[in-house]
Symmetry: C2
Subunit: 360 residues, 2 copies
């Protein structure tokens, strides 16, 4: 049976001041009318039943996430006691799947991506699920790049091996780090490279076998955790086993080492919405004649290509600026050049250092 | 006897969002620790006793102004029922002075200027008071221009006629409108031009005689108002007489037409603080190594020559910008390029048109 694992543990510092420790990116309504986590669940309707859908996050975020998915049937939720990157996170989800369904197939997806249209998304996911169900392959989904992005990792495809639901499936030559502009343009031109979406599909048994082979210490911990599922010591064992784990990503731990990998070509719109600058891009269709996107009460004079987010009570006036991002919240306001959107993280780190906890 | 008339009727739209209809520029603490009106009163200490000092403003601003001058002995206050520019305002003040002191001398000054040091200010004012007391001259105070400003009117001085307290006094050739850059540079080079400070000194009888001569309708109205001072109909008469008055400035009504004008050279620091850009200039001595001036809770990354005003509860983060002004208040925030600081007025006008009264 197919199970969905939604990874929702990030904090999304780049979306400060809207995102906070207890209001992470995935509960914000970025790029759609609903919180990103709710959009993610909605997209799975008809593909994976909610009772076999699990959100994996950290203890602090359980409450805001449950709030964000209401109304609607609540999915299962697993709280990681510590953040230990995606290899541990996926391993933990996998032992939970194996525990209830030894032959279970897992669709693993981040909670904070903007994707559409949902119909095509479901067809492409179904293609990957079919490949993963019928083999021991690790299936990834590669986004056909619409432009030479330098902010994403890439998948280098190999020979074609199948086509399902109109989605071609390829062997994988390898994974590539975020490229330079020049290299990204070569990738785009060759047609052989996809954006690495971070969405995966595999049997729980397959990924656990890979973890046993490539990260035996992690696997040993996972076995102990699996043994305690449903027992009174479940939480204690989880904490004990999790705490000393190395932080390592699934890409580094498994994907770059495994042999049988397949990439399904995904031709839906996809964005990982990494910063306020990408929100401005995503919402470009709402822009006025000067390229400005504004929500809430605002007044713009001689302003171009600017994003202004406020509410209907707090007025933001902007004059004589371009390529700026203004995000107002009750207790904090960000004013940032579009080119500096990535540095919002640095700002949050600076607040952390100053122990301005109320604003984190 | 010397009397002081402080003109405090402006709204200071250019200081939105701090300035509002009921919180005008003169009650803001711009360029000093106290509200501008309080600083103005303090500057007069030892020069004009508070019981002979009158603030003239509009009805809406009486309460915020009285709040702003506390603690301290309250000055007299006259509320104009309608704003009718400076000729009417000064005429009204003059009949009140004449009513209690027919030979009284008036020092007339705006409430919203930044001036220092106070010691030198008082010496120069005393020089003007002496000239006005001993003659029927209209005395103005001309600021020695430190740079070729294009935002101020100028006074063209004539022959020297006296020197009091080390301040030379000149005849006046004429008044000049705000000049072009080129002309302002010529003015500066010649040494014969002063900034028109908008500070005046004259006998009440002298200015009223001028108003009788140059603006007979205004003078007739003032006579009727004077006749009602201290009677039960005072307020009614004031409203009736004031309402139909033409809006005309004292410069246009009198100064450009009168014969006997003297200008006292003022060598104190003076600024009329016309916009947020001039606040940034005024407070340049508080700037950090990157030319930023910030009050309240803020975090600046890769920011230069920027003014950030907020409080200790609302955090403002700015990244990757220069020459910007950010002013946060409880219900409105301004983000503006330094070059656009004059256009804040347009923004307020736009809010007015949209009937966003809560933000005016």
């Amino acid at each position: 049976m197919i199970h969905a694992t939604i990874m929702a543990g990030g904090t999304g510092k780049r979306f400060w001041p809207q995102s906070r420790t207890k209001r992470p990116k995935q509960v914000l309504s970025i790029g759609g009318p609903r919180p990103m986590i709710a959009e993610t669940l909605l997209r799975l309707e008809g593909l994976v039943p909610v009772e076999r859908t699990t959100i994996i996050t950290n203890a602090e975020q359980v409450a805001p996430i449950m709030d964000a998915v209401r109304p609607g049937a609540p999915p299962n939720i697993i709280a990681e006691p510590f953040g230990r990157d995606t290899a541990a996170c996926i391993g933990l989800a996998a032992v939970h799947v194996r525990h209830v369904d030894p032959d279970g197939v897992m669709l693993v997806l981040p909670a904070d991506q903007v994707i559409g249209p949902p119909e095509r998304y479901r067809e492409v996911m179904a293609a990957g699920i079919q490949i993963a169900s019928q083999s021991d392959a690790l299936v990834t989904f590669g986004i056909k790049p619409p432009y030479p992005a330098t902010g994403y990792g890439y998948v280098h495809r190999g020979e074609p091996v199948a086509e399902v639901n109109g989605a071609p499936v390829f062997d994988v030559h390898g994974f590539r780090e975020k490229p330079s502009r020049e290299v990204a343009e070569e990738y785009l031109e060759s047609g052989d490279y996809y954006w690495n979406s971070g969405i995966f599909c595999w049997k729980a048994s397959t990924i656990l076998h890979c973890l046993e082979r490539f990260t035996p210490e992690l696997y040993a911990a996972l076995l102990r955790i699996e043994g305690a599922i449903g027992t009174p010591t479940e939480d204690t064992v989880l904490r004990e086993q999790y705490e000393p784990l190395e932080r390592i990503s699934i890409d580094y731990a498994v994907m770059e080492k495994a042999e049988t990998i397949r990439v399904v070509e995904a031709d839906f719109h996809w964005s990982d919405v990494g910063s306020w600058a990408s929100v401005a891009r995503l919402r470009a269709d709402e822009a006025d004649g000067q390229g400005n996107v504004a929500t809430g009460l605002s007044e713009l004079i001689d302003v171009e290509d600017t994003l202004v987010l406020t509410d209907d009570d707090h007025l933001v006036g902007v004059i004589g600026l371009r390529d700026v991002i203004v995000v107002h919240t009750d207790d904090a306001t960000l004013v940032c050049s579009r080119d500096s959107a990535e540095h919002v993280k640095q700002l949050v780190d600076a607040l952390e250092k100053k122990k301005l906890d109320a604003y984190l």
